[in-house]
């Protein structure tokens, strides 16, 4: 489907619908082009989730877990639609039926990066918004990415940085957030990981350390409403002994099928077969040969 087929429009600075939080910043964009259905409610409670393009498996897990829980309590997830943490944040929000806003660094009619078209469509289909301060097919420029970050920060009550290398774009967003008097939150990472140096620096500089979703919800003054894991309950009833053991192992840490064979002292045939059933039933998921509990 062509990206230009969706409802679109433009909101100027003097429009009463203009997001009030964004108006507060020093240089708010004069106009906001948008795709999707404009709903003022979307801007009531926004959290920017940003991070590295070169997200690690840990970063992916962390983003997915935190965003899903935060999104379920009605917070709008704002991010920059880049691949890596941004895309993971958008898709995790969409997955649990939450709302999300993607702020583009390019003209509103361009899908950048283009291979994320499916995600773009899903954001719009679930009542989210695509916004940009540029019109038409304006190509993204090196300078338009940091400019875009000021909108991401400006729209949000808090910025959550999941993974960031030193001198990365995510730190620019965090800096804007500090400047605009918004909360800066950061997820700690491994001390050996290059893409955690930025987040660790943020924590040293006074950012909130986040290790569970309630930390973020407290920061932006939202009550904690945990409605997660409810959907899985009916399935639990029908799981076999081996499936139960596998779920217990995966609850501790994600594993390869070989590790499971060894820990559960089972033949690879039965482990592989059982994992297949479990993937089809949505009990576990697999990525790069490693199994994760859903």
């Amino acid at each position: 489907m062509d990206a230009s087929q969706h409802t679109s429009g433009v909101i100027y600075l003097d429009d009463p619908r203009y997001p009030p939080l964004l108006k507060e910043i020093d240089d708010p964009p004069g106009q906001l082009f948008y795709k999707g259905r404009w709903d003022g409610e979307l801007f009531n409670s926004c959290l920017a989730v940003v991070g590295s393009r070169r997200m690690s498996d840990y970063g992916k897990e962390a983003t997915s877990l935190l965003v899903k829980q935060i999104s379920l309590s009605g917070v709008t997830i704002v991010s920059g639609f880049m691949y890596g943490v941004d895309a993971e944040a958008h898709s995790s929000a969409v997955e649990v039926g939450g709302k999300t806003i993607a702020v583009m660094p390019c003209g509103i009619d361009l899908v950048t990066p283009s291979y994320q078209l499916a995600l773009y469509e899903r954001i719009l289909d679930t009542g989210g918004l695509i916004i940009s301060e540029y019109e038409g097919n304006t190509a993204p420029q090196a300078w338009s990415f940091p400019r875009r970050n000021r909108i991401v920060a400006g729209l949000s009550h808090a910025v959550l940085v999941v993974e960031a290398a030193a001198e990365s774009g995510s730190l620019i967003t965090a800096r804007y957030a500090g400047k605009y008097n918004r909360h800066v939150c950061a997820v700690p990472g491994s001390i050996f990981s290059e893409i955690s140096t930025g987040t660790h620096q943020l924590i040293k500089d006074g950012a909130r350390l986040i290790n569970k979703s309630s930390d973020v919800l407290n920061a932006i003054g939202r009550g904690v409403t945990l409605g997660t894991n409810g959907a899985q309950t009916p399935l639990i009833k029908t799981i076999s002994t081996l499936e139960g053991k596998i779920l217990a192992e995966l609850g501790v840490a994600s594993q390869t099928s070989d590790m499971l064979c060894e820990k559960l002292l089972c033949a690879p045939v039965s482990i592989c077969t059982t994992l297949s059933y479990m993937v089809i039933r949505g009990l576990v998921r697999e990525e790069g040969g490693i199994y994760y509990a859903c």
Partner: protein
């Protein structure tokens, strides 16, 4: 004075009869000429023949006009094996004796008159049998190779004097140990045993299935995960070659001159692992005249392509015909050559540019578009022709510490045990395809898949759910059925049960 001696010329991996006609005449200017589209290596035989004949103590008619004609004259001839027929004809003319017409002569001469082995000796015996020749005269070193064919008397000599002695007095040199045809010792290859591979149980299981149904397999994993080792160990679990297959394989090795001295029938399945810098002609076959390439040398065996994604894309695309039809056809203006190459493809690749995507503790530094570009180095149609896709994850250090009591007593099958299971599974397949051209499950057409894969109710339901859950294409659907059929054969089951389908689903894709 004219003498005619039978020989043959190589044409692809077959032979064509050639009559070597020699005329010695006292009229005309003295000289020695070879006619009949002889390649440089043939026309040079003039000097070798002349010196060898004289050094063996026979007279050479240097004062006469010697004309050698290789008939048919329009067929290009290559190779040094015309030395022997030419020399035999000249000696017969000079000594006024006759040459048996039911025999073929084949061999290169050394300047001292001794015979050297040349490639293609096996094909000569095959040609002799098909065309009603009773005896073949070959160099002693090619004896084992030539005598793989029953029904042809192979006479092997180490020099020209022995041959002449035999032709005149019927003397066979005693030192020859006469083997019974087809019972000649074979090469020994040192393959790693599956027992010696620590960990990687899922990958081993997938390789077992691949071997049982001759399914092509691709292993994707970070460097150091053990892909190369697994690939090498693969031949150790393959069933032995049947006699017909052995002959097919030995024939190709004979043409390429890759049989070692005194080597007979090849009994082990070949394992070829060309490097990714290989040329087209060496990989697929080619050259002037065209000769088989690596894909044909892997016939009935394994073509192992390590660092699959590093091979030039166009080269891998050329594998489409071989993977589909089991042969490779080379078209040249002079004729078309068909080389068999029915191999099992075992490919190993990294998951991405940096190699660490999916590594348990190292971080991949590639971006999603980079990973996607890396995956796209091999096209969809090629991946479609590979039935089994697996991920190979490195074994943790704890598991590599060898000689701990657990490892010595661990309950892991060795290659011989696995091989026995595979032989049984192959027997089931043989019975299923009785009277058909197919031998193994991987060669089934979609129609045969529908005919030989009976699903139980549960299995059917599971497969339907999987199709919806993973958005499988029709081709993936049939691939899962083929692999399930092999899994059921290994379990000695007539029907495909849901467990078989569930396991096959695991081997669907490796690049996610």
């Amino acid at each position: 004075m004219l003498a005619k001696v039978g020989s043959a010329a190589l044409w692809g991996i077959d032979m064509v009869g050639v009559a070597v006609e020699v005329n010695v005449s006292s009229r005309g200017f003295p000289g020695f000429e070879i006619v009949g589209l002889a390649h440089k290596s043939v026309s040079e035989s003039k000097e070798r023949v002349k010196t060898a004949v004289m050094n063996s103590g026979y007279a050479f008619p240097t004062d006469k006009k010697v004309i050698v004609n290789l008939a048919p004259a329009d067929l290009p001839k290559d190779g040094s094996f015309y030395d022997l027929p030419i020399a035999v004809a000249i000696i017969a003319l000079v000594s006024n004796s006759c040459v048996p017409t039911d025999s073929l002569f084949f061999g290169e001469l050394s300047l001292d008159g001794s015979l050297r082995r040349v490639r293609g000796a096996l094909l000569l015996s095959m040609f002799a049998k098909e065309n009603g020749y009773r005896k073949v005269f070959v160099p002693a070193e090619s004896y084992e190779e030539s005598s793989c064919v029953r029904g042809v008397k192979v006479l092997a000599f180490s020099n020209l004097r022995e041959i002449v002695g035999y032709l005149k007095e019927g003397k066979i040199p005693k030192r020859h140990k006469m083997y019974e045809s087809g019972e000649v010792s074979s090469r020994e290859i040192n393959n790693p045993d599956f027992y010696d591979i620590l960990g990687q149980e899922t990958a081993k299981r997938a390789l077992e299935i691949a071997a049982a149904g001759a399914h092509n397999i691709v292993m994707v994993g970070p460097p150091g995960a053990g892909k190369t080792l697994l690939g090498r160990a693969f031949t150790s679990i393959l069933p032995p070659l049947s006699l017909v297959e052995s002959l097919e394989v030995t024939k190709i090795y004979s043409v390429k001159g890759l049989l070692s001295q005194h080597e007979g029938l090849i009994k082990d399945r070949p394992f070829r692992n060309p490097h990714h810098t290989i040329s087209y002609a060496a990989f697929l076959g080619g050259g002037i005249p065209p000769r088989p390439g690596e894909v044909s040398l892997a016939h009935r065996g394994v073509l192992f392509l390590d660092e699959f994604s590093e091979f030039p894309r166009a080269l891998i695309e050329c594998l489409r015909q071989p993977l589909e039809d089991g042969f490779f056809q080379i078209g040249r203006s002079g004729g078309s050559y068909k080389f068999p190459c029915n191999f099992t493809l075992v490919a190993a690749s990294n998951p991405c540019m940096c190699g660490y995507y999916g590594h348990p503790f190292k971080t991949c530094k590639c971006t999603p578009p980079q990973r996607e570009r890396y995956r796209q180095r091999i096209s969809g149609p090629i991946y479609d022709r590979i039935d089994i896709h697996i991920k190979v994850i490195p074994v943790s250090v704890d598991n590599l510490t060898i000689k701990t009591p657990q490892i010595l007593t661990r309950n892991v099958d060795n290659s011989a045990t696995i091989r026995n299971r595979i032989i049984k599974a192959r027997d089931r397949q043989k019975n299923r395809f009785l009277g058909l051209s197919q031998l193994v499950n991987s060669e089934m057409t979609n129609e045969q898949v529908s005919r030989s894969c009976f699903l139980t109710g549960d299995a059917d339901l599971l497969l339907k759910r999987a199709v919806v859950r993973f958005g499988l294409s029709a081709r993936s659907y049939f691939k899962i059925l083929k692999v399930s059929r092999t899994i059921a054969d290994l379990a000695d089951c007539e029907h495909l049960e849901s467990d078989h389908i569930a396991e096959a689903i695991q081997y669907r894709t490796a690049f996610t």
